[in-house]
């Protein structure tokens, strides 16, 4: 069974190598390379950059990231559940209903607290 995954692994390597080759070929062999200080300065519409670009950003991005982790894990749990649903029947639905219910309560709380509001 595991040998079926070998082409997948090779394909991943080939994908990365293709990207590498294209950048090397395009950027460092075919293309000119004449850097200068002005050309290499960060793009900011003609101004000098005022401060470091890695600035503080909105807390809501963190909230979205945390919500994403929770829900993505939930999907990871739902995947095997969905496949064996025929075999586990009502018991499976109840168990997943309770699990989803708890998460949905959290989701509703988050919604009411305004974590999903932008602007």
């Amino acid at each position: 069974m595991l040998e079926n995954y070998l082409p997948v692994l090779i394909f991943m390597c080939v994908g990365l190598i293709t990207g590498l080759v294209m950048i090397l070929l395009g950027g460092f062999i075919l293309a000119p390379r004449k850097p200068n200080a002005e050309k290499n300065s960060p793009y900011e519409c003609g101004f000098e950059a005022f401060e470091d670009a890695r600035l503080k950003f909105d807390i809501r991005y963190y909230l979205v990231a945390i919500l994403f982790i929770i829900f993505d894990l939930e999907i990871a749990f739902l995947f095997p559940w969905a496949i064996v649903l025929e075999d586990i029947g009502i018991f499976g639905i109840t168990a997943m209903g309770i699990f989803l219910g708890i998460l949905v309560i959290g989701f509703i709380y988050e919604w009411k607290k305004g974590a999903l509001e932008w602007e």
Binding site: P7, I10, A31, Y43, D58, G92, L116, E119
Partner: protein
């Protein structure tokens, strides 16, 4: 001639160690998948400009080659000979690594796509899980590119894009759970076999809300209009790849279009029967019956939908995008999964397993 060549080549081939034989065979098949894919990417860009052109009563590119057919080739050559500018403030390694990281998964996801009956590079059990994982990897390329560029536009674009992609990925994942319930397997070949029997046996009918959610999430995942705030020209120039030029930009571009084709192909596989013919009773007749050409036609149709949507809808505001993702799609999919599960277990309607 061919026979004499074969008799010359075969002993050398058999003399090679086993692992080289396996490697060469696999790379050969990978190239067979990748070359048409790259060509499709090139001509999707041409189709995009041409189709949107005609939708806006313009002609579109028509100067390079007959009716502009060589335009994508000319674009590729131009990008190849452009300098890659690496900004002074950037993190050089990550800056060049990010395009590769978006390219790798965008291509690798094609390993498990069934193109026709039993024509598939890797027939793996966890096909759909693998595709979900690979399409999620794309967001790393975006975040790393935005961070490594060390430019404010790139940073803002990357943040927006990442938040949007993860929000829609959840809706997408839930839609896939619905497909799994109907298909009863993670193997893409099995999911298609379950849809045998013509147009009304495909999953789009019992899973209609999930199909709509999946396709719209796909549009949002690939950062396409009307969800393209991450690259909104009028606000943050080009988003996360504002500092990229030449081939480094081209790699991002290729990855984005490979992802578009991927989403279109997946929509046709999961909801529209892949290579199944819409005329169920003619399944064995050539052309009318099942075959690779149906997969291509369906995929092309959904790519056309992408372009059509882009030409039709004005851009969403960022808060509207987040509201649609979190407050509309996720509740809709959760409810539909629950309804589908109950229906399937109670043996009601077309959902009975």
């Amino acid at each position: 001639m061919i026979e004499s060549m074969m008799s010359f080549v075969m002993p050398i081939w058999e003399w090679l160690p086993m692992w080289i034989q396996v490697l060469v065979t696999n790379v050969f098949f990978i190239v067979i998948i990748m070359v048409p894919l790259m060509l499709s990417v090139a001509y999707v860009t041409y189709a995009e400009r041409k189709i949107i052109g005609y939708m806006q009563v313009r002609i579109g590119p028509n100067r390079v080659g007959p009716r502009g057919w060589l335009q994508p080739i000319a674009d590729a050559v131009k990008l190849m000979f452009k300098e890659i500018i690496i900004p002074t403030n950037s993190n050089r390694f990550l800056f060049l690594f990010a395009p590769m990281l978006s390219m790798g998964p965008a291509l690798a996801a094609w390993a498990v796509i069934p193109f026709a009956d039993n024509i598939q590079l890797a027939d793996v059990n966890a096909g759909l899980l693998y595709i979900l994982a690979m399409t999620s990897m794309g967001v790393y390329g975006v975040i790393i590119a935005g961070w490594a560029s060390n430019s404010k536009y790139a940073m803002l674009g990357a943040l927006r894009s990442a938040a949007q992609v993860v929000a829609y990925e959840i809706a997408m994942g839930f839609a896939l759970v619905g497909v799994l319930m109907a298909g009863g397997s993670l193997n893409l070949g099995d999911i298609i076999d379950k849809q045998a029997g013509g147009f009304f046996n495909w999953f789009w009918l019992p899973l209609l809300p999930l199909m709509v959610v999946y396709f719209i999430s796909g549009v949002a995942e690939t950062n396409r209009a009307p969800f393209d705030v991450a690259e909104g020209e009028s606000e943050i120039v080009a988003g996360f790849h504002v500092d990229y030029s030449g081939m480094a930009f081209a790699v991002f571009f290729l990855a984005e279009y490979a992802n578009i084709i991927m989403i279109a192909a997946l929509t046709s596989l999961l909801f529209f029967g892949g290579w199944m013919s819409p005329f169920g009773s003619y399944a064995d007749v050539p052309l009318l019956g099942n075959g690779f050409h149906w997969f291509v036609i369906k995929t092309m149709f959904f790519i056309y939908m992408f372009l059509w949507i882009r030409a039709t809808f004005p851009r969403y505001r960022y808060d509207q995008i987040m509201r649609l993702g979190w407050k509309v799609f996720i509740p809709v999919t959760i409810v539909w999964i629950f309804v589908e599960a109950v229906m399937a277990v109670m043996q009601i309607g077309p959902w009975a397993v």
